[in-house]
């Protein structure tokens, strides 16, 4: 599924489509509170754009853009954003993920603080979902074996 094949039409069309898919995914994440969508859906669409790049451009170029190490870091950092906002609310003396208390830091009214807190949480969810979806597809399609690693192994022993 990840081998590079010589189809110029699909590659060029994917190259043109991918930035628009990504900006649409970010639109879905950012406008989650007053239109359908949110962190999970936007993350899935963002992950689909990277999967499209992996399918059309082959394993090697896709790893230069989004490697499995980067995916791991992204998924962890998204979770860090989510739980960090929750813990911040806990430290400020209210319940976990009770964003109203964030108004003490952000110097705005509680309603606006809730909106900003939800936005932060959705960004975290989106990053995590994107990275996890990409790495699930990466692991299934390569079977955990990357050609470079095999060559290195053969050279070593």
């Amino acid at each position: 599924m990840t081998r590079l094949t010589d189809d110029i039409i699909i590659r060029a069309v994917a190259r043109i489509m991918i930035p628009f898919i990504q900006i649409y995914a970010l639109y879905v994440i950012m406008h989650g509170h007053h239109s359908p969508g949110g962190g999970f859906q936007g993350g899935v669409i963002l992950g689909a754009s990277f999967i499209l790049y992996l399918i059309t451009h082959g394993l090697e170029e896709a790893r230069a853009r989004m490697s499995e190490l980067k995916a791991g870091i992204f998924s962890a950092s998204g979770l860090l954003i989510y739980s960090g906002i929750g813990l911040l609310c806990l430290i400020l003396g209210s319940n976990f993920l009770d964003y109203g208390r964030l108004s003490l830091i952000l110097k705005v009214i509680p309603a606006q603080a809730r909106s900003l807190g939800i936005l932060g949480v959705e960004i975290g969810v989106g990053i995590t979902v994107m990275a996890v979806m990409f790495s699930i597809f990466f692991d299934i399609s390569t079977g955990g074996i990357i050609p470079e690693d095999e060559e290195i192994k053969e050279e070593n022993g």
């Binding site: 599924m1 628009f20 898919i21 999967i51």
Partner: protein
């Protein structure tokens, strides 16, 4: 006007039924892939028609946008699978 869009939607459903015949009984994978991608485009239009009937087009445009942007991903994947398994 609502009635007009209702009948338009029913006509599109009839076309979906025709495509679905090819998708369910069609000999081989290639017929099925073509039928399903046709169903995808019809789904997009039906969603917009529903949005017009519910008077909330701004919400339904978002869903149909997802189909417009991502509908070809499945088709490409099937084509790549068939090419890599050496069936065509």
């Amino acid at each position: 006007m609502d009635n007009f869009f209702l009948w338009l939607g029913m006509g599109l459903f009839f076309l979906v039924l025709l495509c679905l015949y090819r998708g369910v009984f069609g000999p081989g994978v290639l017929n099925r892939v073509a039928a399903i991608s046709a169903i995808g485009t019809k789904t997009l239009v039906i969603l917009l028609i529903m949005g017009y009937i519910y008077q909330r087009v701004d919400m339904f445009v978002d869903i149909s946008m997802v189909y417009a942007l991502l509908n070809f991903l499945g088709t490409i994947t099937v084509a790549k699978y068939l090419e890599m398994s050496g069936e065509i």
